[in-house]
């Protein structure tokens, strides 16, 4: 069975059907169809994990067909231990997004749902492409639905945010396109990523390729100092858009580092590792401090995302199993936790229409069930043991301490800052006395909101208490990657 193709194209086809059939007067049917599409797409991805051979580092569930014969581009799909969880994560988050939009989006529902389903398929495509050009096509194509989503359903400055998002990402990825074409010629006419992994390259081309890839992926992650698009995009995007951005789109960049930068240009990766580690630490510490002073909840979580992604890139560039596995675990857990944080903000915003921390206070008095979830996700965000947030950070810090004590120490300060900005926000929003009439009139979450938060809470808790299934699947591929990166290509 071509599970990967189905995982890509089933949501895209559902999305296309929604766009074609949907009208403003059949929104109810559209919502259910979107939910069916999202659930079916998720079910299709399950065999990828149940049938996954954890002992093999090779690409699995491969499909390899000629696509553009003139340039020897192939429709080559496959997943290994590094990418398989992200396919599931993408499909899972899409279900949550569809549920989260249920009553909230009332205008042009079919376009909203259609855009998210298509986006979901395209992102699965990014994670499962083994052909460089195929990867690029999916990587770029994701910009179109997200641009539309931010622009139509976003906040007051949505146009600015949508343009900034699109042009920033495009700028980075165009340089990557040149790198891909260069590799195509260097490898004697192949776009196959696995061939590129084995391609010997001199120091100078490696450095140039490294920075071309860096341009694309650092913008996407985003790393300091090219992170400025993210707070804008997050703040202006509708709740679903923020969730997908934080939970999955940022991971595309981090995933790119593992699939391209490290294995294709290992020597350059080693040479410039101190540079990456430095800017990762800046992201962790400086952006953590920036998060502390935000008045807007969404902005705060956006900066928190940048800081958490700094952890991921830090883990990748210390070249140890703890670091890379830790980074990957952190990516997945951040997918759950940041998604849930944005959903929580969305729950409040739908009721009060404000994202300012100052507009709230004492929410726990009127929304006890919701506050329980929010506090739980806040704890996960600052890395409380027992939640998913802890595992990844702990592994990365451990790896960093082994690599260099001082780097480990600096990275560990993130736990303090993370706790500070998250808990302080929670204190101001949820605890204390009821601050104003808006908060007094709040009604607690309904069963739909309960469902979506509960799903994420279960995932966060499961991963925090028993991360073994996740790390087991990654283990062989990560070990192979580290072995590969350790061998010089010069």
């Amino acid at each position: 069975m071509a599970y990967l193709s189905l995982a890509i194209w089933v949501p895209v086809v559902f999305g296309a059907i929604l766009l074609a059939l949907g009208r403003d007067d059949n929104a109810g049917m559209v919502r259910w169809l979107a939910l069916v599409g999202a659930v079916v797409s998720f079910l299709i991805t399950l065999p990828l994990v149940t049938g996954f051979d954890v002992a093999s580092a090779a690409m699995q569930f491969q499909e390899n067909l000629p696509w553009i014969e003139r340039f020897n581009v192939r429709y080559h799909l496959g997943v290994d231990g590094i990418s398989v969880w992200f396919v599931l994560l993408t499909a899972f988050i899409t279900i949550i997004v569809v549920i989260s939009a249920w009553e909230v989006i009332t205008e042009r529902v079919h376009q909203y749902m259609g855009a998210f389903l298509i986006l979901s398929g395209l992102m699965v495509g990014v994670f499962s492409a083994v052909d460089g050009l195929l990867f690029y096509v999916f990587f770029e194509a994701t910009l179109i639905p997200m641009y539309i989503i931010i622009g139509i359903w976003g906040g007051p400055r949505r146009v600015y945010a949508a343009f900034k998002f699109f042009l920033y990402t495009l700028a980075g990825s165009l340089l990557m396109l040149i790198a891909l074409i260069y590799l195509y010629y260097k490898s004697g006419g192949s776009f196959d990523i696995l061939t590129w992994h084995k391609l010997p390259l001199a120091a100078m081309p490696q450095a140039m390729l490294f920075f071309a890839f860096f341009a694309a992926f650092a913008v996407k992650v985003p790393m300091w100092p090219v992170h400025t698009w993210l707070p804008d995009a997050h703040v202006e995007a509708p709740t679903g858009g923020s969730v997908v951005l934080a939970a999955i789109m940022l991971k595309l960049g981090a995933y790119g580092f593992l699939r391209f930068s490290l294995p294709i240009v290992p020597d350059a990766a080693h040479t410039y590792a101190p540079f990456i580690i430095t800017i990762s630490l800046i992201a962790v510490i400086y952006i953590g401090l920036v998060a502390l002073v935000q008045n807007d909840m969404k902005k705060l979580v956006a900066y928190s995302s940048i800081a958490h992604m700094g952890f991921v890139t830090l883990g990748f560039f210390i070249f140890s199993e703890l670091g890379i596995s830790g980074g990957l675990v952190q990516m997945i857990s951040h997918g759950f936790v940041s998604g849930a944080m944005f959903l929580s903000i969305g729950v409040l915003y739908d009721r009060v229409h404000s994202r300012e921390i100052a507009s709230y206070g004492g929410v726990v008095n009127t929304m006890p069930k919701f506050a329980a979830f929010a506090v739980f996700f806040g704890m996960a965000n600052c890395g409380l043991p027992g939640t998913a947030g802890f595992i990844g950070e702990w592994m990365v810090i451990l790896g960093a301490v082994k690599y260099n004590f001082w780097i480990g120490l600096l990275a560990a300060t993130a736990l303090i800052f993370g706790a500070a900005y998250t808990l302080w926000m929670i204190k101001r929003v949820y605890f204390g006395d009821v601050a104003n009439d808006h908060v007094r009139e709040l009604t607690d979450i309904n069963s739909r909101e309960f469902l979506m938060l509960a799903l994420l809470a279960i995932a966060t808790l499961a991963m925090g208490l028993y991360p073994k299934p996740f790390t087991d699947v990654m283990h062989t591929s990560v070990v192979e990657l580290i072995r590969h990166v350790g061998v010089s290509k010069l």
Binding site: L19, P66, W67, I68, E69, R70, F71, R108, Q111, L133, Y136, V137, E140, A141, L143, I144, Y147, I148, G151, I152, R158, V159, A162, F163, F166, L167, L170, A171, L174, L175, L177, I178, I181, Y182, Y184, Y185
Partner: protein, 493 residues
């Protein structure tokens, strides 16, 4: 095979006959919608297109009319797309022309005549034949722009187009005369041989090349020969704009390959330098000036300039350090770029015409505000075109840019690598103004709430056009292979 070889020029003969027949038949048509004329024209175009497709599939290269014309797969493939472009243009134009009182027999017979000129440009094997083809095309187009003669803007545009076009033709003819003076022949093959031998005065040749390239650059609208493009695009009735913006670009491309590659490849070092300057200037001026436009037709004019600059980058990477190994790759990438660009352009102007109605041109960018609320289908189609022009996958525009970039990088030369990076940076700037159209359509509120009345036929063809841009973007391999095959055959002779 006899020297005349009439078989090779059957499509052109048919076109000429039908242009006359259409002009005559129209005299007896009383129907205000000109249905008989319209259908007869479309049938002729379909027949000519089918003949070109048949010849292309044959894959042979023949000379005819005593080596005056050549028939090869490249010429037929380009002619096929030119026929298609004129066909689609007429389908889009009919409702528009009707409401502006320019739906006359002249519109149809002049369109056919301009196509005849294009076909001659695509198959000429002799400087004079090429020049005649160019003039047949240009004169028909001048008249078409002026078709709406009581409209001040259109008349001004026609005047400008005619005067500047005549100067460019003069340049071209002057350059050709120098070639003739230097080599003693007007036959492209003989010129090629004479230059190859190396006993021709190079100074005269290079001087001639300068004039020829200037003349061709005018037809592409490359900077600094671009002055006419924005004014003519904006001033002409949109139907004429579309006719100028689509098929003639294909013809100019074919002529460029015939003259510069088949005739003057020996001077590639010289004309490549010129084209590099032209394309760099076009990319800069086109992309930057497009940002400032508020009129959609004018913006698309500057966008054309930029796109032509990008396309010419494909032409400049054919000969590297005297080595022609990468020539087929380079020219076929430019050809692919050109064809896909024309397919996309047809749709954008088609949509502008579809949106227009009696007394309302719908050519300001703000006229598209909130199109998504008024017609999600049209907004989606326009969105596809804009993303394609910006070069975002999965639309065909991405593969066009990709193939030109890979041609540049395949040379393995730092200069070309820098050109590629430069082109990429400017296409990033270009993405901004294409995205702005999407923004206006999707993010802004509709100011105009009148329903869009679009004729069924034009609407259906527009949907097909949008689908073509998307499908070619998902499966571009076939057309790429056809271009490659056509160029390889053209270079082999």
């Amino acid at each position: 095979m006899n020297a005349m070889n009439w078989l090779a020029v059957y499509p052109e003969i048919l076109l000429l006959v039908m242009a006359c027949v259409v002009a005559l038949v129209d005299l007896y048509v009383t129907c205000p919608r000109r249905t008989p004329t319209y259908l007869l024209t479309l049938a002729s175009l379909a027949a000519v297109g089918a003949m070109h497709l048949f010849y292309f599939n044959g894959g042979y290269t023949h000379y005819a009319m005593n080596r005056m014309v050549v028939t090869d797969p490249m010429g037929h493939l380009l002619a096929l797309f030119a026929c298609l472009a004129v066909f689609v243009t007429l389908v889009y134009s009919r409702p528009y022309a009707e409401s502006r009182d320019i739906l006359k027999g002249e519109l149809f017979s002049l369109s056919l005549l301009s196509l005849l000129g294009m076909c001659i440009m695509l198959s000429g094997n002799n400087f004079l034949v090429l020049y005649l083809g160019l003039e047949v095309m240009s004169l028909s187009l001048y008249a078409l722009v002026a078709l709406r003669r009581d409209h001040a803007g259109a008349t001004e545009a026609a005047m400008k187009y005619f005067v500047l076009g005549a100067i460019a033709s003069g340049f071209l003819l002057y350059g050709m005369s120098m070639m003739y003076g230097a080599t003693g022949s007007l036959d492209l093959g003989k010129v090629f041989e004479a230059i190859g031998k190396g006993d021709v005065n190079r100074q005269v040749l290079v001087f001639g090349v300068v004039f020829i390239v200037s003349g061709l650059a005018f037809k592409f609208g490359a900077v600094p020969f671009h002055m006419w493009v924005p004014d003519v695009y904006q001033g002409a009735p949109t139907a004429a704009t579309l006719l100028i913006a689509s098929a003639p670009k294909i013809a100019a491309f074919g002529m460029t390959i015939r003259v510069l590659v088949e005739g003057l490849l020996g001077l590639a070092v010289d004309w490549q330098q010129m084209l590099v300057v032209l394309s760099v200037c076009s990319l800069v001026v086109g992309n930057l000036a497009a940002i400032a436009q508020t009129n959609l037709k004018r913006m698309l004019a500057y966008s054309t300039i930029a796109q032509m600059g990008f396309m010419m980058l494909g032409l400049v990477s054919g000969v590297v350090n005297g080595n022609t190994l990468s020539a087929a790759n380079a020219y076929s990438s430019a050809m692919f770029y050109m064809i896909t660009y024309v397919v996309t352009t047809l749709g954008t102007f088609g949509l502008i015409m579809l949106m227009a109605r009696q007394g309302f041109e719908s050519e300001e960018i703000s006229d598209f505000a909130g199109l998504n609320q008024r017609s999600p289908q049209l907004a989606a189609i326009m969105g596809i075109f804009m993303f394609s022009l910006a070069g975002i996958p999965p639309t065909v525009g991405f593969y066009a840019k990709l193939s030109v970039l890979q041609a540049l990088i395949s040379t393995n030369d730092t200069f070309y690598l820098v050109l590629a990076i430069f082109a990429v940076v400017l296409s990033l700037i270009g993405a901004f103004y294409y995205l702005r159209i999407v923004k206006v359509m999707y993010f802004d509120k509709a100011t105009d709430t009148q329903p869009i009345v679009a004729e069924g036929g034009a609407r259906a063809v527009l949907s097909l056009n949008g689908a073509a841009v998307l499908v070619l973007g998902i499966l571009p391999g076939g057309l790429m292979a056809m271009c490659a095959q056509a160029i390889v055959k053209a270079l082999a002779t």
